[in-house]
Symmetry: C2
Subunit: 296 residues, 2 copies
């Protein structure tokens, strides 16, 4: 958002505020008339149609983000993440918007692959409804691109963390440690290995995807190459916080929750070939994130 | 249906009759109380929930079947083919039905692959909304299987033809020739090469899939290995009908319609390893189909 305005774009922002988005970062742009904001859900197509400017590109990040919730309440997740994306694509067809960058997921669409690092061409076999929704959405990105001449790029993103983020494992650990600095509960056995992505590297991926958008549907894994267990995240965080005496307790089981992918390591050479890289190490990233979290 | 009753099963049949299903074949089973019928759409979850028997397995073939319509009216196709399948899966979760055979599509989910014959592991990249809907449905079959312990097999079916079928290219050609036996309009340039599947071989595939249903989500291509162009279908049909003097006219372009996959050839060794095969040659199949069509 900040980058788009810096680049000289006027931005229309949509959010139904269901994930309690903090609008304070948007305010300066609204005041300078560089953006407008609409409390609209992508679930509601008629509301979407009320927006009628000559948009160049849609950055579609509207989603129910919680894998756990997608398992306990599949229909809500489906309505937001599949119907929502379908509505965006229908909007593009109706309003003749040609370009879309779609925020997909690198850690959930492949399910439990047997090739590491997993390349984009690997067949999708999600084990959570969240992953199924992102994969299903990509299927429609594929057909709409082919049928109606759209240019669509799907960025399969790792777990994004960093300033302004108010969910995710690091955020959760930080607040657990605020409450009790001697003990930290870790979901699962702590050996889950995931793909993380610092916010600045994420924004840069969107920027590069937009700059390189071309005819057809394309897909990119976006992740750090650092292989990190959840326990190592905890180590890193407690170290940065200067807490040397934290006892870990584990809820046990190999998964943190139902539908949790326990090992993810993906190939990122495709996006690297466009000049992107994950420049921020996990240590630096967590350090910057903690600095931000410490302000509150 | 006939086979299921022969095998001793009691069958509940659901159809919203939107595709003008001919119920005459069902009638004997209803009269013998081997089956019950409900005019219900899979789009309507509340209606589905009204059915509450201890079902062993769902054979999910309810769909909007027309690729062309999926392109001109994406939302109707989405509601029937994606929401419909999602509702079936939700029904299974709610009513504790463990087994599902899903009718997917071999000719549309891969889009335009560059590997022939295309194996099941090939990544899905549909070019029609019909294909996207089938692929999206498979993504949910995958997650639901993993999350809720279902046993699901997806049969990616070729173009099914044979007695009782009232749509498809052979059906269309037959009726065009009934109206005018000297000229036949062929959509596209006639070189489109597709996967066909005779009805008896299709039923046998469902039977074998059911007999071999096991834990997890599995996918099988189901198609004849005969490589056949649309023009060759026309040749075969005119030959069987004894029409030697038919002039073909072509609407032109490589696709018969928007979203039409022009070349499909899939690997069927996976289902063959379970003892299935396409026993009916295209010539025999068309001959039997014509015998049936000639009755009316």
């Amino acid at each position: 958002m900040d980058l788009l305005v810096t680049k000289g774009f006027y931005v229309t922002v949509l959010d139904d505020l269901s994930a309690k988005t903090d609008l304070r970062y948007l305010k300066p742009h609204l005041e300078k008339r560089k953006a407008d904001f609409h409390k609209i859900s992508v679930q509601n197509y008629d509301d979407l149609l009320s927006l009628n400017m000559d948009y160049d590109c849609i950055f579609h990040l509207a989603a129910q983000p919680d894998v756990k919730l997608s398992v306990s309440n599949p229909r809500f997740d489906f309505e937001t993440n599949v119907v929502g994306t379908f509505n965006i694509l229908e909007y593009m067809r109706e309003r003749d918007v040609r370009n879309l960058i779609f925020a997909s997921s690198v850690g959930t669409v492949y399910g439990e692959p047997d090739v590491f690092p997993t390349p984009e061409r690997y067949p999708l076999k999600p084990i959570s409804n969240y992953g199924a929704a992102k994969a299903a959405s990509e299927m429609y990105c594929s057909s709409y691109t082919s049928l109606y001449g759209f240019n669509i790029t799907s960025l399969r993103l790792g777990n994004i963390y960093g300033p302004r983020s108010t969910h995710g494992v690091i955020y959760d650990f930080y607040h657990k440690l605020q409450k009790n600095s001697s003990e930290l509960e870790i979901l699962g056995d702590g050996s889950q290995t995931k793909s993380y992505l610092y916010i600045d590297d994420t924004v840069n991926a969107f920027n590069i995807a937009y700059e390189n958008l071309q005819e057809g549907f394309d897909v990119f894994n976006v992740s750090s190459e650092e292989i990190t267990t959840v326990k190592k995240i905890a180590d890193e965080l407690t170290n940065i916080l200067g807490l040397n005496d934290v006892t870990y307790t584990f809820t046990g089981g190999k998964r943190g929750w139902k539908g949790d992918v326990v090992y993810s390591s993906v190939a990122i050479s495709k996006l690297q070939s466009l000049g992107w890289d994950a420049h921020t190490t996990l240590e630096t990233g967590i350090r910057k994130y903690v600095e931000w979290l410490n302000q509150f």
